[in-house]
Amino acid sequence: MFYYAKTEALRMLRNRRYLIFVVAFPVLLYLINANIYGKQTDDQGVAYNVVLMVSMAAYGALASAMMSSAVPWATERQSGWLRQLQITPLPGWAIVATKLWTAMLLVLPSLLLVSVVAIVQQHVSMPPARWLGLLLAMWLGTIPFIALGLAIGSMLSADAAQPAAMLCMFGLALAGGLWFPPEVFGSTMKAVADVTPSYHYAALGWSVVGGGGVELADVLVVAGWGVVLGLAAAYLYRRATVRS
């Protein structure tokens, strides 16, 4: 099972689309934006090059979570690879667990890369404990998005899962304020952002870099979405693999 997880991770790292959208894209966006707005500060006095680091890391993690789950999962289900695994001694739950675990591993490159670029190019510096808290929050916070990806992959065909995952990913990134600071939203958009898991996910990071630690409300919203989407994913997985 460990080898299965390793192989799964390896194959995604060989996937060009994953590398471009997930690893290169957030870093590039960060470099552009941080060099334009980086010197300004937000209303709490945190420099934008730090706020943007969190936003772009969140976007990269969100994209990674969805890309390494939805489409590969739908494809494997449809192409018969899942059936090939089902007739090995590997239990059904281990297949999903491995998917979840590898998707979590694959979130790390974008989180770490954006952070490293922020340190090297923008000279961002924080106490080590704050870095650790940030990465941990941003890492665990991706679980709802992976669950969403797996739910999409269990529900839709590979052809339909591709645009659906893209739509969810961009929708969540946009509505959650990962691309534009949440302050520029009007009140309607702010209300929308307030119910998205992505806004609260990024807010976990924004609070940590602001030095305030995570807000309970953010944790609850992200965890709540995690539970709801996790149950949906489990239900859809069962439905997709039921043995009639």
Partner: protein, 294 residues
């Protein structure tokens, strides 16, 4: 104990009856061909054996246990009709991935050797030809050293050379006392590679025997005569006779050698043989007739 048992198994898909009251027992160590036209229920039978489908009625057992238990213990391997590979992985990585999921797998080199993939070990799955991909799927089926190997139309998409290499690998694998069941719609494949042929049509068992018996039964000739009320005992022991059918007072003897059968019928029995009809049919036509009428 039987390697594979179908005990009055039926499988419906809605109104369609894919497998209809099928009973079958396969002994360990044998190589059995499941022969039948498209839509005969071959793939459904294999899915039932693997626990991928549940029978509507009846019972499927493998080594006396349920398919799920046997799959979990890694005693069964299969090459299904559809089964894409992971494009980003190499042949060797794919085989090793599946191999490591089994408790007692074959060594990696041996799997590659048996499937004739040693020269392709480093190639990515999306760079393989159709026949090569089929051979990889064969390798995945045998990687865990399963005692029972199921192959669903394994030579589809293979060219002549790939076929030859594939069957050689299959025979090498079966030689270790393992049980192999392969589905095919080619009579020649069943003839050349199985020690027993099970013919199914429309989900029902149509014939069961060695390849020679099936050929004689379906493709051999028949001797028909009126039996009336005379006893039929011993007719099946006449030379050349492979099957005996009695209906409406007439006997039909399927025979591989009608001359010998007739001679023995006249000289070796005391039967009053009347209204004799001899008929022969060509192999394919008879096979089609056999699978159509059932």
């Amino acid at each position: 104990m039987n390697a594979i048992t179908f005990d009055r198994v039926s499988k419906h898909y809605g109104d369609v009856l894919a497998v209809n009251d099928l009973s079958l027992a396969v002994e360990p160590g044998s190589t059995v061909a499941l022969l039948g036209p498209n839509g005969a229920g071959k793939s459904t039978s294999i899915s039932l054996l693997l626990g991928l489908l549940r029978p509507t009625s009846g019972r499927v057992s493998v080594h006396g246990r349920t398919p799920d238990e046997v799959v979990r213990d890694g005693e069964m391997g299969a090459m299904l009709q559809q089964g894409a590979l992971i494009p980003e992985l190499s042949v060797k990585e794919l085989v090793d991935l599946v191999r490591r999921l089994y408790p007692r797998p074959l060594p990696l080199d041996e799997v590659l050797e048996l499937a004739d993939l040693t020269g392709l070990a480093g190639r990515r799955a999306n760079k393989l030809s159709g026949g090569q991909a089929q051979r990889v799927r064969f390798a995945l089926a045998i990687a865990g050293a399963p005692k029972i190997l199921l192959l669903d139309e394994p030579t589809a998409a293979m060219d002549v050379e790939s076929r030859l290499r594939f069957w050689a690998g299959m025979h090498d694998y079966a030689a270790g006392g393992r049980t192999v069941l392969f589905a095919t719609h080619y009579l020649e494949e069943a003839d050349a590679h199985a020690d027993r042929v099970v013919v199914i049509a429309r989900g029902r068992l149509a014939a069961d025997g060695t390849a020679a018996e099936i050929k004689a039964g379906v493709g051999g000739q028949t001797v028909r005569f009126a039996l009336g009320g005379q006893p039929s005992a011993g007719l099946d022991r006449l030379p050349g006779v492979t099957a005996v059918e009695i209906a409406d007072g007439a006997v039909t003897l399927h025979t591989a050698d009608p001359d010998a059968t007739l001679a023995a019928l006249y000289r070796g029995t005391t039967l009053d043989v009347r209204h004799v009809q001899l008929s022969g049919a060509d192999l394919e036509a008879a096979f089609l007739a056999l699978t159509r009428e059932s």
